[in-house]
């Protein structure tokens, strides 16, 4: 087991074009997204606009649309798309042997 990566569960627990949440004790809640072609991404679960829960947005291609005011956030970079300006931190994540691993240091950043 690699100490730099945290196993957070099987990838089939994450529906395609869906998202689920990963609370971090003392830190920022993380949203995990899965695109149609099976790629997994992790972002802080807070829209840069008004802190809407991105995990509840609609995922399309590599973008999620925030449920509060329809800001479109790139899953690749965390950047707001189109005219909107703002950025939400992304956390490195990988899928290995059917399980999702998240980068420990970035996931815990800010956690006390």
């Amino acid at each position: 087991m690699d100490a730099n990566w945290l196993d957070i569960g099987p990838v089939d627990q994450l529906p395609a074009l869906g998202a689920r949440t990963l609370p971090v004790q003392g830190g920022q809640e993380i949203a995990l997204f899965r695109t149609a072609n099976g790629k997994v991404f992790a972002l802080h679960n807070k829209c840069p606009h008004k802190q809407g829960p991105l995990s509840q947005g609609i995922v399309h291609d590599t973008t999620v649309t925030c449920p509060l005011h329809n800001w479109r956030i790139s899953l690749l970079t965390g950047e707001a798309q189109g005219e909107d300006k703002g950025c939400v931190p992304t956390i490195p994540v990988k899928v290995d042997g059917g399980r999702i691993f998240i980068a420990r240091a970035e996931a815990l950043a800010g956690a006390r």
């Binding site: 945290l6 196993d7 957070i8 569960g9 099987p10 627990q13 994450l14 529906p15 395609a16 074009l17 869906g18 689920r20 949440t21 990963l22 609370p23 971090v24 004790q25 003392g26 830190g27 993380i30 995990l32 149609a36 072609n37 606009h49 008004k50 802190q51 809407g52 829960p53 509840q56 947005g57 609609i58 995922v59 399309h60 291609d61 649309t65 449920p67 509060l68 329809n70 479109r72 189109g82 005219e83 999702i100 998240i102 996931a107 815990l108 956690a111 006390r112």
Partner: protein, 823 residues
């Protein structure tokens, strides 16, 4: 072959005036000049007067771009953006830019516009003091609004009020300081200014008139604004919008004659025959203009003089509209009154309407309209034409339709037809009736084509009706009347109607199949087409449809309403608005058990429980289910509520059992997904306590039966219902209601409420399908009831039983140094 040497035209200023002048010249003679445009802002040319809608969030920057990069390239124009001109050498016919570039010219056009005026009070240069002039200013304001807090706008003129409106919509506390006693005193008289002030205050802005700023207070950033009377108003930003002054520095340094602006003659020529000037930087016949309309006229005169032959600019009569949504305000000409002036005034306090027309020697010299500005163009046209209005004077205040003898029902197209050819139709882009008509005659046969060709109605859109009127008058029978229907979204070129038709024809049953067959250009659609397609499929194939939770908006996916803090509100169904002790106890228990922040009685006669976390939703529902309550669908594009009054059981005026009928209606229609939310009400008598005449489907009971009303809406655009028909029995009322819902479900576009849908297809069509065609009605009713057999399952109970459990649970949890994962 030797290329013929063209004259070189250099334009200083890439704003509205500079570019418009170039457009006008190109329209007359595209080959005449080599053109170079210098712009200080690092971007293409955009419609500055539309910055207010950008600030308010009604438009994006892309939507207000007038000429994109392709335009410069296509017309062989060289754009030097982000580099300002710093000196003009008139002897050498050459100019120099900040970056050190020199450029020679044969003709030079100065279109440097104006600069915002900053009152030189102490603190005016603190960070956080913003003007409102260009996109950078808007971006600064948006960034400030993002942080929230308090904004003080100094200046209650057109620009200041638009800035205040935008910041207010963006969530800031806004105070407007205005030196004069009346807002927009140059455009409004006292009465209209008062109505405007009252309306803005009712919306939540603070308006201080007679407020004289003494200083802007702050250490390293603005903190407050202090008035001469000692009042201090806290401020996170201060927007200075007290006026503009012509930007004449270059002209002055080059030794041109400058008064308040750069002095030009009727051909827009300065004292140097090879230098011209247009826009807000010029002074013509002693006048300086700060509005957009004169600019269009100047550019025409300039272009005529530079190409086909001088026609001359004779000055402008101006009119003003305020771009604050929901406030209609129009002002033109002079209304300061005077001895030989007469006023014609109409007030309608209840509707918030004030109209004043000022006459002088039987001619209109000024007009102020508040609340109803439909006749603004007409008054303005009469004023510019200096028409003798003595014949229509008695009726003039009631507007064109009435004054022209047609009464209120006069054909609105006749009003457009009566305008003169040079009457301005589109104020945003300065397009006259004549140019629209000639574009139509040249082959622009649709609204989109006219917009593309002339830009008329392409900016704020408020003149769309006039443009459509011109299409109708000009093309007569040939005008299809329908504007080109837009595609569903950027993912497809198919319209909503096309997609629905093809889903049926091709028997498409799943979203990926639709996207494949209809050549979607994105891999899996977007947040606007996916929910629409999911609805169209469930409506088309009620027996077979498989729900796609990922194509539902969050509220419909979680069967609760998301709130701004990410918690949810929960509304249990109360049939017909009737409840009982058991239900109330269960609700009270839920509120305490889950520490709900608030319980609210809704407009639809239900109780709304606020502040529930998504993880707790299934448990909350289980408790509510246990007391016999099911989902109220307050979150859905679905049947929301059936509101009732107490009816003949209790009320001494009641004519029928409105409560009982309401409950039957709700039992019949709950659970059905629709294009948008759908509200029903049943009132027991014409006193209409259940407010049935602003619902999607309303019933007003009378002694002899039931009046069925449709298409009402109490939202942004208030719309009273239309009478569909009157029926005698409850059974008929239920049948007509079911048929109406099904027609709406099958034919309206997703996210169309019944009101706009009926306005589009016409009440007559709905009557024909529901009232006149008995067989069709009963088939519609049957299809609705069939679909209901699949839809009337309480989604809460399904979730309580474990369906879609992952939606309510975290994937895992991270605690520092340990991860607790899912199985």
């Amino acid at each position: 072959m030797v290329k013929e040497q063209k004259e070189k035209l250099v334009v200083i200023g890439n704003g509205m005036a500079g570019c418009r002048a170039v457009e006008e010249i190109l329209a007359r003679d595209p080959e005449r000049y080599d053109i170079v445009i210098f712009g200080a802002e690092p971007r293409v040319n955009y419609n500055r007067i539309m910055l207010s809608p950008v600030l308010a969030g009604d438009k994006t920057f892309d939507e207000i771009v007038i000429n994109d990069e392709a335009w410069y390239a296509d017309n062989g124009i060289e754009l030097v953006s982000g580099d300002s001109v710093i000196a003009i050498d008139r002897e050498g016919k050459e100019l120099r830019s900040r970056s050190g570039r020199t450029e020679s010219y044969d003709r030079l056009l100065i279109a440097t516009g104006s600069d915002p005026f900053i009152i030189p009070v102490p603190g005016h240069d603190l960070p956080g003091v913003i003007t409102f002039r260009d996109l950078d200013d808007v971006e600064k304001m948006l960034a400030a609004a993002e942080r929230g807090g308090e904004a003080v706008v100094i200046g209650g003129g057109l620009l200041g009020l638009e800035a205040a409106h935008g910041l207010f919509l963006r969530g800031m506390e806004v105070t407007v300081l205005h030196l004069m006693p009346t807002l927009m005193e140059r455009q409004l008289d006292e009465a209209a200014g008062f109505l405007l002030k009252t309306e803005l205050e009712n919306r939540g802005q603070t308006i201080l008139t007679g407020a004289d700023t003494a200083e802007i207070v702050g250490e390293s950033h603005v903190e407050a604004v202090k008035l001469k009377d000692g009042t201090e108003i806290p401020a996170d930003i201060v927007v200075m919008a007290v006026g503009i002054r012509p930007n004449v520095r270059l002209a002055l340094e080059a030794g041109l004659e400058v008064g308040r602006g750069i002095v030009v003659d009727d051909d827009m020529r300065t004292r140097d025959p090879s230098i011209f000037a247009v826009g807000e930087c010029v002074e013509h016949r002693g006048l300086v203009y700060g509005l957009v309309a004169p600019l269009w006229e100047m550019c025409k005169a300039l272009a005529d003089g530079c190409t086909t032959g001088a026609t001359g600019y004779r000055g402008s009569v101006t009119s003003t509209k305020l771009k604050v949504s929901g406030i209609d305000l129009f002002s033109a000409g002079d209304f300061s009154g005077g001895e030989d002036c007469e006023d014609v005034v109409m007030r309608d306090a209840a509707r918030g309407i004030y109209k004043r027309v000022v006459l002088k020697q039987d001619r209109i010299v000024g007009a102020v309209l508040y609340g109803d500005t439909a006749d603004g163009n007409w008054y303005f046209d009469l004023m510019r034409q200096e028409e003798d209005v003595s014949d229509i004077r008695e009726a003039i205040i009631f507007g064109q339709a009435f004054a022209s003898g047609g009464g209120a029902l006069a054909d609105p197209n006749a009003a457009v037809a009566a305008l003169s050819d040079d009457a301005e139709i589109c104020g945003c882009n300065g397009v006259s009736k004549g140019s629209i008509v000639s574009a139509i005659l040249d082959g622009s046969g649709t609204l989109d084509a006219v917009r593309g060709c002339t830009k008329a109605s392409a900016s704020c859109g408020s003149c769309t009706n006039l443009v459509e009127g011109l299409l109708t008058i000009t093309l007569g029978e040939d005008y299809s009347g329908e504007r080109e229907v837009k595609p569903m979204c950027g993912c497809t070129s198919f319209t909503h109607e096309d997609a629905r038709r093809l889903i049926l024809e091709k028997e498409l049953k799943e979203i990926p199949a639709v996207m494949q067959e209809l050549h979607w250009t994105t891999p899996d659609g977007c947040s606007s087409c996916r929910p629409a397609l999911n609805y169209y499929l469930l409506c088309a194939w009620p027996d077979e449809h498989k729900e796609d939770p990922q194509s539902r908006f969050v509220n419909e996916r979680l069967h609760a309403n998301i709130q701004k803090d990410g918690s949810y509100s929960v509304v249990p169904r109360m049939w017909g608005g009737i409840t009982n002790p058991r239900e109330l106890r269960a609700i009270a228990d839920v509120v305490e058990k889950y520490d709900a922040g608030m319980v609210k009685v809704t407009g639809g006669q239900r109780l709304d429980i606020f502040g529930i976390q998504k993880e707790d939703l299934p448990a909350v529902w289980a408790d509510l289910n246990a007391a016999g309550m099911v989902s109220g669908h307050a979150y859905g594009k679905a049947l929301r509520t059936v509101k009732t009054c107490v009816g003949s059981d209790w009320c001494r005026f009641g004519t029928q059992d409105s409560t009982g009928l309401g409950i039957k209606m709700e039992r019949m229609s709950w659970g059905s997904w629709m294009p948008h939310k759908f509200k029903i009400a049943v009132s027991g008598c014409p006193r209409n306590c259940a407010e049935a005449t602003i619902k999607d489907f309303g019933i007003v009971c009378v002694d002899s039966g039931y009046e069925l009303m449709v298409g009402g809406n109490g939202g942004i655009h208030l719309r009273g219902t239309d009478l569909l028909c009157k029926v005698e029995t409850e059974g008929e009322a239920l049948e007509f209601c079911a048929a109406f819902i099904q027609l709406y479900r099958e034919e309206a576009r997703y996210l169309d409420r019944t009101a706009p849908w009926i306005e589009r297809v016409g009440l007559d069509y709905v009557k024909q399908r529901i009232v006149e065609d008995a067989e069709g009605r009963s088939a519609l009713r049957d299809r609705f009831l069939h679909a209901q057999t699949f839809l009337q399952k309480d989604p809460w109970a399904e979730r309580v039983a474990g369906a879609e459990a992952h939606l309510h649970q975290h994937l895992a949890e991270i605690r520092p140094f340990a991860a607790v994962g899912a199985e």
